[in-house]
């Protein structure tokens, strides 16, 4: 089947098998390998992307279902070399170790902040329930999400264009 999808701002038109999952389309067809696969039961959330502005587990969406839609992956978050405030907060709060869950965690966190711009600890924990991390014990992830909330404008949605944070933050510094 023929699909047309916008991924991270670029249009793609491709022929796909009906059974192709969105995550495989992203990874194997158009090379968006920033989104990863951690399970085959839609339990881990490693593959989370935004489909028309809302988080989905891309292993449970068919590529054909994304026809005509806009997909944002972790690779499409930073603009002009500037990290998204959630990416920045993950770095500053040491919210990742191996980093395998991180793309999905970041995408889910952005969606949860769109729903609730100032979540308390419990709300963050509940909002991330579908994303598993084996390394961090979640504490610093929770801290990062709440920290990011402080740096995003009220109502700033998942669309990275609407992020008000503009200060460039280098990685590796203190």
């Amino acid at each position: 089947m023929r699909i047309t999808v916008t991924v991270d701002g670029t249009n793609y038109t491709d022929e796909v098998e009906p059974r192709t999952l969105l995550v495989h389309y992203l990874r194997e067809r158009i090379g968006k390998v920033g989104t990863v696969v951690g399970c085959d039961t839609s339990n881990c959330g490693a593959c989370t992307v935004h489909l028309d502005g809302h988080s989905v587990k891309s292993c449970s969406v068919l590529a054909v279902q994304a026809d005509g839609s806009e997909v944002t992956t972790v690779e499409g978050l930073s603009r002009d070399g500037q990290l998204h405030p959630v990416q920045k907060a993950f770095h500053e709060n040491h919210a990742l170790q191996c980093g395998f869950c991180t793309p999905g965690m970041i995408m889910q966190s952005i969606d949860l902040l769109a729903d609730n711009p100032d979540p308390d600890e419990q709300a963050v924990r509940e909002g991330l329930e579908g994303n598993l991390c084996r390394c961090t014990g979640y504490q610093n992830i929770v801290r990062a999400v709440r920290d990011a909330a402080q740096h995003m404008s009220p109502g700033a949605g998942p669309d990275a264009e609407r992020i008000t944070e503009t200060k460039h933050v280098g990685v590796g510094g203190d």
């Binding site: 990874r27 920033g34 084996r134 014990g137």
Partner: protein
């Protein structure tokens, strides 16, 4: 070049690694795609134990996209390839051959039987369905005690027994202590308990994968492994590939926790298949395959006897273990209980100790190292039985621990196992933890809740611990019959512009080596943190190494970096003296500068590097190079320790456990990067708490793993865990120049008993003195209701007990 003045070691540096990981520009093995690459999929046995009568691959060979199908006879016609075991723990240890693919018989559900190679992964998996295997089922052997009983059916008929080996340590025989039987028979109190360490799945988030490219001058293999260096040697030895013709790369690796320490049959299959076909081949497993076929951890039955005087002084400890190896010997799984053998006496001054372990084969997935490898099991047993002893004596559990632990002024202290603990301060860590926890306040609340018969009861759990990090002095490994040394390698390349490349043999998978090593080198050479690049995980650039496991990276690998840096300074000094036209003795080196003593005449390490590059003006006979390397073999282990306190609320009507607060004070010696240390502790706590409350495998009677996906195997999510209060004390290790001790496993080791002790403490008033892990609501409820341990599997908990909530009220 910027000279660094403020020390880097001790700073909470944000990690260098993060940039690629938060932007999705990571190099996972599964991201690697090569021209003409084929995909390999493995057909796995659905039976736990069966003879293979026949395999028909003809339909699969004709399936769309299929390039080749291999069975054991195609892949290994001489049956000569056996997967390696690096740890023959006794001279008579049984060594059943683990073939790359099962040929005549399968010995666990999930064992590979055939492989398909196809143009796409989907086509390879589709074709697996076309392979027709006829099996003749054999008896399933799941229970360890039944497995070693007389007349039991055998996993490996040719081995004559399911007992792999028996390994013993006795303090009287070793001359490190007195006789345990005498201690037990002459003591005023003896407590005996049986604990079970349920089987766990390491569950790193990135499934295993490898890509083999046989098309270059060397064969290149990328693998999601913890041990690229060991893998290269083992692949060379196992398959006969000349070592110099094989390059192994561990790119970014998404977690390991010991679970990626094995040398995999799938890695060997990929190598064989790629070489046979002359094309690059990728193998990438699904999560369900990981759960089934990647090694599991723990799985011990522990019979513990402790004896004491009425005042609480412990007189002896006897430990008898059954350890489930699964169907074969893993790379180091045979030795996991042996690592634990040295830790059962923990932080205590026990005078008599006896340890015996029987390793058992069953028809299950093999077990091998899992975060802590042997030490969590040991710490659990001793910290649980100390609580039981305290209860029998009517003592406060903390007071009992204080009575028996090694006092600060007694270090260095040689234990009943013969290990010498270099430093520690259990008093300081415990005092700090008590303050942070509000121990006395919580005890008072516990009393109030008990008195008011509150439906939610409070329990306080204590666990103190130590472990041996920095695996390991090579001679110690040798004395334990381990097949390799415990050294680590590092190299430093001073580049002409004053920037630095650091090469380390410790291959990281999330631990932040790039950051920590940069901090170490920045201090050693006075080079800016940003001007340092750390290279690891590639046998071509990092040609020597023993890799990352057992909290060894910093205390072995980090020290190798220090040693290499010292050599760089030593090489630079005569050159600096020559440039400054002074005697070498007149120079001092600090903050990246060589200064003539008592003057402000100086030159920098960067100037020297440039002078070496130009090589126009060097002292006579000096080699134009500052590059150095060092191999460090530790003299002793390091012994981090800590005190963990857990407050658990138990709903006595539903059995549900809620962690009210968790405080730990760990002493990891000098923390190179406190931020990374804290992160490691958090993650470790989550894993240890998960063993206590959530995780555990279940097999049905046919040997099928019924907890084979993340839907059935309860990995905790963010809502299942609390926030932790973590703090540190700092008693530097005296056996390495950084004073560091290691931290990777601390949280996991200490938290499991802290949580279980807390839950037992909450419900002890109902006559409960043990609950088997994981402490599911069903089990806790059952224990409250009947005052006994429920021996049912974790699968039992699925709501069964909750249906009876109403019936329990009266029992309280």
């Amino acid at each position: 070049m910027t000279a660094t003045i403020e020390p880097e070691v001790g700073k909470s540096r944000r990690r260098k690694e993060d940039e690629r990981l938060i932007t999705g520009r990571t190099r996972w093995t599964d991201n690697i795609t090569l021209p003409g690459m084929l995909h390999m999929a493995v057909l796995r046995s659905p039976f736990a134990h069966a003879k293979i009568v026949s395999i028909d691959t003809s339909a699969a060979k004709n399936a769309p996209g299929v390039v080749a199908v291999f069975t054991a006879t195609d892949l290994d016609p001489d049956s000569s390839i056996g997967m390696p075991c690096a740890w023959p723990i006794t001279p008579d240890m049984k060594a059943p051959r683990r073939p790359v693919l099962a040929a005549d018989q399968v010995n666990f559900a999930g064992e590979g039987v055939a492989v398909v190679v196809a143009r796409s992964s989907a086509e390879a998996h589709d074709a697996l369905e076309e392979i027709d295997v006829e099996y003749d089922e054999l008896p399933v052997i799941l229970d360890m005690e039944a497995a070693i009983a007389d007349g039991a059916p055998l996993v490996h008929e040719d081995q004559g027994s399911n007992t792999s080996a028996v390994w013993k340590f006795d303090s009287a025989e070793a001359g490190t202590g007195s006789n345990v039987e005498d201690a037990i028979s002459s003591s005023e109190i003896v407590v005996k308990r049986r604990f079970r360490q349920q089987r766990l799945i390491p569950a790193f988030m990135e499934p295993r994968a490898c890509v083999v490219d046989p098309t270059g001058a060397q064969t290149t293999m990328w693998s999601a492994t913890q041990v690229p260096h060991i893998l290269r040697v083992m692949a060379a030895l196992t398959l006969g590939i000349p070592e110099h013709k094989l390059r192994v790369i561990a790119p970014d690796v998404g977690g390991g926790f010991g679970g990626k320490i094995g040398v995999l049959p799938e890695e060997m299959m990929s190598l064989l298949v790629a070489q046979k076909l002359g094309k690059p081949v990728k193998w990438n497993e699904s999560r369900s395959e990981t759960m089934l076929a990647a090694h599991h951890g723990r799985d011990q039955i522990q019979d513990i006897t402790i004896s004491a005087n009425a005042d609480g002084t412990v007189t002896g400890l006897k430990v008898e273990l059954l350890a489930n190896l699964g169907a074969y010997n893993g790379l180091v799984g045979t030795g996991v209980p042996i690592l634990g053998a040295f830790m059962f006496n923990a932080i205590y001054k026990f005078p008599a100790y006896h340890f015996a372990c029987t390793n058992v084969y069953t028809t299950t997935t093999l077990t091998d190292a899992y975060r802590g490898a042997g030490r969590p099991e040991a710490t659990f047993a001793i910290e649980r039985i100390m609580d039981e002893l305290a209860d029998e004596l009517g003592m406060d559990p903390l007071e009992l621990r204080e009575k028996n632990w090694i006092k600060h002024e007694e270090f260095p202290f040689t234990t009943v196992c013969g290990l010498t603990y270099d430093s520690g301060n259990y008093e300081a860590a415990t005092e700090k933890a008590k303050q942070l926890f509000d121990y006395d306040g919580l005890r008072a609340e516990q009393e109030r809740r008990r008195a008011s018969k509150d439906k939610v009861q409070l329990g306080l759990g204590i666990s103190t611990f130590t472990e041996m990090c920095g695996l390991a002095p090579s001679r110690v490994l040798g004395s334990l019959d381990y097949g390799a040394g415990g050294w680590e390698h590092a190299a430093i390349r001073m580049l002409p512009t004053g920037k630095v490349e650091v090469i380390t043999g410790a291959s990281a998978h999330g631990q932040g080596h790039e950051t920590a090593w940069s901090q170490i080198v920045a201090d050693q050479l006075g080079v800016a943190f940003e001007d340092i690049e750390v290279i690891h995980g590639d046998t071509q650039s990092s040609h020597k190494g023993m890799d990352t496991y057992g909290s060894r990276s910093l205390v072995v690998g980090g020290i190798a970096v220090v040693k290499a840096a010292e050599k760089v300074v030593a090489k630079a000094k005569p050159i600096a003296a020559h440039l400054l036209e002074c005697a070498e003795e007149d120079l001092e080196f600090a903050g990246g500068k060589f200064t003539v003593k008592g003057t402000d005449t100086s030159t920098t390490m960067g100037d020297v590097a440039l002078a070496v590059f130009a090589a126009h003006n060097l002292p006579d006979g000096v080699e134009p190079s500052l590059d150095s390397d060092a191999t460090f073999d530790p003299e002793n282990f390091s012994y981090p320790h800590g005190t963990h306190l857990c407050a658990a609320e138990v709903d006595t009507e539903t059995g549900r456990v809620k962690l009210r607060s968790y405080v730990c004070v760990d002493d990891v010696g000098v923390a190179v990067n406190p931020l990374i240390v804290e992160g490691q502790v958090h993650g470790g706590l989550a894993q240890g708490i998960a063993q206590a409350l959530f995780e555990g495998t279940v097999h049905d009677e046919s040997g099928t793993l019924t907890t084979g996906t993340f839907a059935d195997y309860l990995l905790p999510s963010a809502v299942d865990l609390p926030s932790f209060t973590t703090d540190r004390t700092e008693t530097p290790s005296t056996t390495n120049p950084l004073g560091a001790k290691g931290v990777g496993e601390a949280g996991t080791i200490a938290s499991t008993p802290a949580v279980v002790n807390a839950v037992i403490d909450a419900v002890r008033q109902f006559g409960v003195n043990d609950i088997e892990m994981p402490l599911t609501p069903m089990r806790v409820w059952h224990a409250i209701r009947y005052g006994t341990t429920d021996a049912g599997g974790p699968g039992n908990e699925a709501g069964g007990g909750l249906g009876s909530i109403d019936a329990t009220g009266g029992a309280l």
